[in-house]
Amino acid sequence: MTATVKKVERVVPDLAMKAYVPAILEGLGVTTRHFVQNLGNLVSGRKKSKRGTEEIATIRYPDEKREYPPRYRGHHRLMRREDDQVRCVACFMCSTACPANCIYIEAGEHEDPTIEKFPVRFDIDHLVCIYCGMCEEACPCDAIRMDSGEHTKPKYSRTDQRVHLVDLLERGGPSIAKQGGRFS
C-alpha cells in the first residue's frame, strides 16, 4: 500500500518570529477583530456582522432557545391513540431494549378486548436514562418517542426525576401511525 504521505511544514523561527512582537501583534489583530465586530453586533443588535462572518456563537440560554433538530432525543413522551387513550400496550420492548434499565412498566388488563393490555404504571427514571433512543427504536406501536424537542430539566430531588405515565402522556400528541395490519 503506497501511502500518500505529506510531511508537515514546521515553522523555522526567523528573526521576526524570535522578536515575539510581530506574532503578538498579529494575534492581537485577530482577537481585536473579533472583539470589535462582536461589539458592533452587540450594540447594534445584529446577529451577524456586515461581512456575515463574525457572530456571537452562544445564546442567552433560558431566554433564548436553540431549536432542536427533528431527530433530537429529548424528554420522552407517550403518544395517544385517536381516541386519546394511551397508545402503549405495555409490551416491555422499550424496557428490554433500554441498556440502562431505566424504564419500569406494570401492565394491566383493559376492559376493551381490542386493546386488551395497557400500562398501569410507566415510569422512566431520567437520572438513569442515557438518552440513547433505543426505546424509541424498539417501540412496535409508535407509543414512546423522544422527539418532544425539550431536554430533561433539572429538578430539586432525585425522585422528581422519575417521570410517570401522566407526565409522559401530557407531552404526547396523537400518533397517526397505522398499526395492526391496517395499511392505508
Binding site: 512582537v21 503578538i24 494575534g27 492581537l28 485577530v30 482577537t31 481585536t32 473579533h34 472583539f35 462582536n38 461589539l39 452587540l42 463574525e54 457572530e55 456571537i56 456563537a57 452562544t58 445564546i59 442567552r60
Partner: protein, 338 residues
C-alpha cells in the same frame, strides 16, 4: 493643616477610590465581557435585579456579595498569621502606588514627592511579598511552587523595569513623575513612546510580568499549579488577590501612561486650568483605560510562557536589551547635544 488633610483626602477619594477602584472593579467585569466578545461569546449576563441586567454589570456586586458571604477557611498551616495577612500585603502596594502618579496638571497628584519613581519601584518590590508569603504560608506544594515562581519572576523583571526607565530619565531629566509628564508636553512626538520606543516595550513586558498576568501568569498557571500561590485561599481573601491584581493593572497602566504616553497631556493642548484640566484628567483616564484594555487583550490572546522561558526572557533578552537601550539613548543624546 486641616485643609491639607482635607485636600489630600479629596484627591484620594477622587482619584484612588473614585477612579482607580471603580476601574479595577469594572475591570473584573470587563475582563469577562471583553474576552467573551473577543471569543464570540456573550459573556456574563445572568445577574439581575428584577429583570434588570445591565449587560452583566450586576455581576460585580453579585461577586462582591458572594465573596463576602463565603466561608473564609484557613488550612492547616504552621503560619496562620502569615496566611491571613498575605492577601493584605499583596493588596497594599498596588493601592499606594497611585500616590505618586499625576492624574492631572499642577497639584493633581496625591504626593508630589520628588522620589516618585523610586517609590513605585519600591512598592512593586514589596508586592513580591504578598504572593511569596501566601505561597509559603499555605503549606501546600502547589502553592509553594507558585509563590517561588512569583517571587523569582517578579524580582527578575524588576531589574528590567528599573533599567528601562533610565532612558526616560535621561531624556526627561527628572524622577518626579509630574515633571516627567510636564517635560513630555503636548507634542506627541516628544512622548516617551516616541523617544524611547524600545523602553516602552521593555517596560510593558516588565510590568505585565510584575502583575503576573498572561502571558507571564506562571505563578498561578492553572494547568500546572491549579491556582498557584492562592490555591488555598477562599472567600474575600482570595478576592483580595484578585482585586489587588486588577488595581495593579490600573496602576501599571497609569505608570505606563505617565512615562510613555504623555500622562495627562492632551496633544496640542498647552494651557491648563478650568475646563482644560478636566479635559486633561479625562485624557489621563482614557489613556489608562486603553492600556488596561490592551493588557486584557494580550492576556486573552497569548499562551503562557514556561517558567524557565520567563527567566530566560527576563535575564537574557530584556536585561541586555535594556542595557543596550541606555547605551543607545546615551549615544543619541550625546550626538544631539554633544
Amino acid at each position: 493643616m486641616t485643609t491639607l488633610i482635607l485636600y489630600a483626602l479629596l484627591k484620594i477619594a477622587g482619584f484612588v477610590l473614585g477612579y482607580v477602584m471603580l476601574t479595577a472593579t469594572l475591570l473584573t467585569w470587563i475582563e469577562r465581557k471583553q474576552s467573551a466578545l473577543a471569543q464570540d461569546r456573550i459573556g456574563p449576563a445572568r445577574a439581575s435585579i428584577m429583570g434588570l441586567r445591565l449587560g452583566g454589570l450586576l455581576h460585580i456586586p453579585a461577586d462582591a456579595i458572594k465573596s463576602f458571604t463565603k466561608e473564609d477557611f484557613i488550612p492547616d498551616t504552621p503560619n496562620p498569621w502569615l496566611f491571613k495577612f498575605a492577601p493584605v500585603i499583596a493588596f497594599i502596594p498596588a493601592f499606594v502606588m497611585f500616590a505618586v502618579i499625576p492624574f492631572g496638571p499642577g497639584d493633581l497628584i496625591i504626593s508630589s514627592a520628588s522620589f516618585g519613581v523610586l517609590f513605585i519601584l519600591a512598592v512593586t518590590g514589596i508586592s513580591v511579598y504578598g504572593a511569596t508569603l501566601a505561597g509559603w504560608a499555605s503549606n501546600s506544594s502547589l502553592s509553594l511552587l507558585g509563590g517561588l515562581r512569583a517571587a523569582a519572576q517578579m524580582i527578575s523583571y524588576e531589574v528590567t523595569m528599573g533599567l528601562s526607565l533610565v532612558g526616560i530619565f535621561m531624556v526627561y531629566e527628572d524622577v518626579n513623575l509630574q515633571n516627567v509628564v510636564i517635560r513630555q508636553g503636548s507634542n506627541v512626538l516628544n512622548w516617551g513612546i516616541v523617544t524611547q520606543p524600545l523602553a516602552f516595550f521593555l517596560f510593558l513586558a516588565a510590568v505585565i510580568a510584575e502583575t503576573k498576568r498572561g502571558p507571564f501568569d506562571v505563578a498561578e498557571g492553572e494547568s500546572e499549579l491549579v491556582a498557584g500561590y492562592f490555591t488555598e485561599y477562599s472567600a474575600m481573601r482570595f478576592a483580595m488577590f484578585m482585586l489587588g491584581e486588577f488595581i495593579a493593572i490600573v496602576g501599571v497602566s497609569a505608570v505606563l501612561v505617565t512615562f510613555f504616553l504623555g500622562g495627562w497631556q492632551v496633544p496640542g493642548l498647552e494651557e491648563t486650568g478650568g475646563w482644560y484640566t478636566v479635559l486633561q484628567v479625562s485624557a489621563f483616564a482614557l489613556k489608562t483605560w486603553f492600556l488596561c484594555w490592551l493588557q486584557l487583550m494580550i492576556r486573552w490572546t497569548l499562551p503562557r510562557f514556561r517558567y524557565d522561558q520567563i527567566m530566560h526572557l527576563g535575564w537574557r533578552i530584556l536585561l541586555p536589551l535594556s542595557l543596550l537601550n541606555v547605551l543607545v539613548t546615551g549615544i543619541v543624546l550625546a550626538i544631539i547635544h554633544g
